[in-house]
Symmetry: D2
Subunit: 349 residues, 4 copies
């Protein structure tokens, strides 16, 4: 029989006591996106065993949707080594770490009434605008107390250092384990390439307007640092939850590294994306890893999977299965450390 | 605090030993489609406890994708009471029940080469065209041996009776538990409104062309019978995996029942759909249950959820969780029975 | 420069007086789905010039959405030669041809209130349930008057002949040009593989319930006839608006024809689909024409395009451009004719 | 008859000589997204007549897909008053303005081979990596020649001023009309909130690595300026092509303005989005304007439409129709001007 017809699909009965890990493995015998969820698990475990540096891109309103605990777990246990996020997710992480909440709501509701009640809606999540403004104020007031060089705008700060300091502050005022506090403790660098484009940006704009701070972000150093993380790493793997700025920012590290070192890009060696987007619209968020191979962003022999699913389904399931599969107490941590105001060093030659 | 802000989203850590049932329940504290997967579980369990008649619509190439075992389990254990399917899924069920296979492949492949090798592709599933033709032949030859009234076309046969007889035959020649064999044994009626539109139709067309059978399907009796199932039931619930003909056929039972009995439609009392489609394209497959309420197809106080997910992810997870939650040995079976050539009786008055 | 870099994208300024034909041609210099809309136009024109038999599959609520006039035009002018439709579209065509209407509404509305007012919603289209029931009654009553052999169920009727007779009737009672009346006049065969699954089916079920008719549909003859249309044609082209039963039914003609004639399938030579679905869900509605090539349903050298767009945007634009481009008074009509109760003849050998 | 049933859908025949404007108007009598394309046209024309300040968010690879000419036209003729873009679109605009090209390719291709040939793929668009690097170098070298305060990083530059200067430079070295050159000439401010996340960022990182420039972007001033544009405007309207950072950045202007001025947000008065995303994934890119009303980002009485379509189809058609409908020689330009290094002034009180 043809070599195309080797791996039989194995239709399975239901095992009503199955663990998440077991069902994910069983899905590996199916097809379509069910198979892909299993493949995502396999690739993630492989990355961990290979001691690959794992860069994780986070877009979409996942913290409001209840994913903070899972992402914090991934950070804390070094299932990921570098996080690139939208500003919104980090703002919402602050919000929850400060003891405030998001609420279950409905997408079928009178939004004018919500506005009148001071409630902001994110699909079927509700939150209090007043409470959000308290978190705005927290960020604004904390930023005033940063190193005067930063506050005066004399020296620009990377988003990584800014968020590291914010994680430090949060871990002092709260016992709740958030993403930023976990990242601070685990020395996982967090970048936010569009930090102005979020409530963090709004808070800092309010600080600027009232004359209390003049913070400047060193975006280009963010670009260089992430390229350096890639350059210094034995190999890199990427996990994208949603697309947007975080995905592109991580993808471009390979190009930046190759330009700076004037060498051919190796490409990321492992790649997982969980997306609700499609390739045929032509945008970056839905594009395939094959396309990325033409750019040298993904290695020619990379193991990759594009999983088409809402992340609120796929992320908890995959992360739980990965945690069940990777039975090492403490993951050996890749050999780069980016603390505080670390100076840039020359990229790998 | 506002009554809109009552149910806190509960961001959870990872429990790496969680069962499927446990993670589905935990997802109930999140949002977006993660919450909906949990809601689908809750509604299904409620239907079962309420002794509701459950009609299940099946579209999309789910049997080739490895879902036969799960659907057979649902039928066998009466987690569903009536199945409406595309012809393709039933053909592929025959194929597997006869000991043939679908295979794991890839969607990135040279399809011309596959054609030359006699391999048919369904996204990332491969199968042998030659083997498919054996299943065609099985159906064609079996059909010749049906009751002569049917074979001659003198009496039309409902798709339900045709598929019941096919299940009977399959259960005699194979020990493999398929959908049709399980349905035969569990007395779960199976309808296929577009039976000509599938390899079953092709097989019967080949039989007609060679003069061996003249089978006619009594489509309108299918319509009446399903309306009667609804009329005779205390209450009905619907589960749609994909849209297409099966969804519409089940939805319209409420309208048919109301027209025949000249009464106002009650609407289905419970409703779950797992769909990869969207409402904004205007089609039936992606339409919401709210829209269906305007037609009286869904009850005004129905409990319903539209879950946006690939069924190869959602169905195994939900079905496993439901099996874990509904701990009754044998479900009390709703009070209609449709065996063999059952005559139509008057609908409930 | 590489042969990959030959056709420059030509960014164009706006020509505010452009015709539809001109803008469609200009889009041919762009990319993504804009390019595909232009390609769909090109392929359709090529089919017409090549005197190819064009089979058109129609799914989704396009008649309620205002597309009746366009589809009737395509039929009348033989821009298509065979129509396969969902039952719903044909029911809604009847409804409008009888002088009744669909209305512009909104998808953000209280559906319970609509139900109470007797208004049915199809996304943002409203219609009167009472008026729909008049159209039901028209079909039910007309069906009683068909040839007694059909009414008694003694002889099964193809959906083609049934719809031909219905078109004949409608063209007698109304001057409005609908799809069925145009098809009747232009001798374009119309098939409806899931005719029971629609208000036509409900109307006939009501007739059966009250004892006024026992109509049986000869689904298998539908399968054979469409295979024969393909067999007798020099070449075939397909246009799918939406997926579902119509798409599969037309796709399978190639397989049926090859099985009956025991020859290798040629495959359709031209193929256009307008779809809002995606391949990665694995279903037939979103599958690519490459996948169809593995089955032999699409010719290995076919010209094809999958256009990802809502049909209410793409169909009017493409059809208008095609009408502008194909400047022949009267298209030479392909050499098959299927009128009334035409007997099956042997397929091409 | 019910007031719900007032506006009849008007099924129209094909007018093969129709202009784009005429077909867009005719689509206003249909439903689903066809109706929405017409509505988008109506709202845009209304904005123009109302002398509203129009903010345009641009995401997705639209310049590579051939949309540069259209967007440049919109800028030049002040059909929009402020542009917020991804960095990639502006980089690709530079590339084309410098006389380089994007090419028509295919999404079904061997990407490893493309990589070996130095060709980058964006869905079905190809481009030369070597040529891209020339554009990188152009940006890097030009940046060295900016005002020494900026080059040294002593003073941070807004992305608006940076892009204004870049437009100035491009208009000196090229006669090709690009987006940045048109914006420079028409005094339309252009913002790029994630400027590091693009080849512009890579170019500047290369400059930093070689020690030739230390440019810092004043992201927070971008936030303040855009809030001020909104504050100073009589009313604002938004047009989003794609989602991502540009959409959120424009949406948040209302919140920033309300926080700074300690007043209730009015919300944008007009809103159009062209999106291929869906609301049910919970992200900002696909969210509805109703959701945005809960936040006060969109006015309670706003006229808005979410159009689900690929922008390469919808944008050329709508823009052409708008240009055809708005017959004023020169649009009266809203009363804010942001040139060069304009100082922030107090927001409207």
């Amino acid at each position: 029989m043809s070599h195309f017809l080797k791996n039989r699909i194995k239709p399975r009965e239901i095992n009503k006591r199955a663990s998440v890990k077991a069902i994910v493995e069983a899905m590996g015998n199916s097809a379509f996106q069910g198979k892909n969820i299993s493949l995502a698990h396999d690739i993630w475990v492989k990355m961990l065993k290979d001691n690959t540096t794992i860069l994780f891109g986070l877009a979409g309103a996942l913290v409001p949707a209840g994913m903070r605990g899972i992402i914090a777990y991934l950070v804390k246990n070094r299932f990921i080594d570098c996080l690139v996020s939208t500003g919104a997710n980090l703002f919402h992480d602050c919000h929850e770490t400060l003891g405030r909440f998001h609420f279950q709501g409905s997408h079928e509701v009178d939004d004018i009434k919500l506005f009148e009640k001071g409630i902001d809606r994110i699909y079927d999540v509700f939150a209090s605008e007043k409470e959000f403004r308290k978190t705005d104020d927290f960020i604004k007031n904390w930023a005033k107390g940063l190193n005067p060089e930063f506050v005066s705008g004399k020296r620009a700060i990377t988003t990584r250092e800014f968020l590291y300091r914010l994680g430090e502050k949060l871990s002092k005022v709260s016992k709740i384990e958030g993403i930023l506090t976990s990242a601070y403790k685990a020395n996982v660098p967090v970048y936010c390439p569009a930090i102005g484009d979020s409530s963090i940006g709004i808070a800092l704009a309010a600080g600027r307007a009232e004359g209390s701070s003049e913070i400047q972000f060193d975006l280009i150093k963010d670009v260089l640092e992430t390229a350096e993380i890639v350059s210094r790493s034995k190999s890199t793997g990427v996990i994208y939850v949603g697309g947007g700025t975080p995905k592109n920012f991580i993808q471009q590290t390979e190009v930046t590294a190759s330009i700076i070192s004037d060498s051919v890009s190796d490409g990321h060696k492992y790649a997982i994306q969980i997306t609700a987007d499609s390739p045929h619209w032509g945008g970056l968020s839905g594009c395939t890893f094959k396309e990325a191979q033409s750019w040298g962003k993904i290695a020619r022999d990379a193991r990759s999977v594009s999983l088409h699913s809402d992340a609120t389904i796929a992320l908890p399931i995959i992360a739980t299965a990965v945690a069940g599969s990777f039975n090492v107490k403490r993951r050996k941590i890749p050999q780069f450390i980016l603390k505080g105001d670390l100076k840039m060093t020359a990229p790998r030659t």
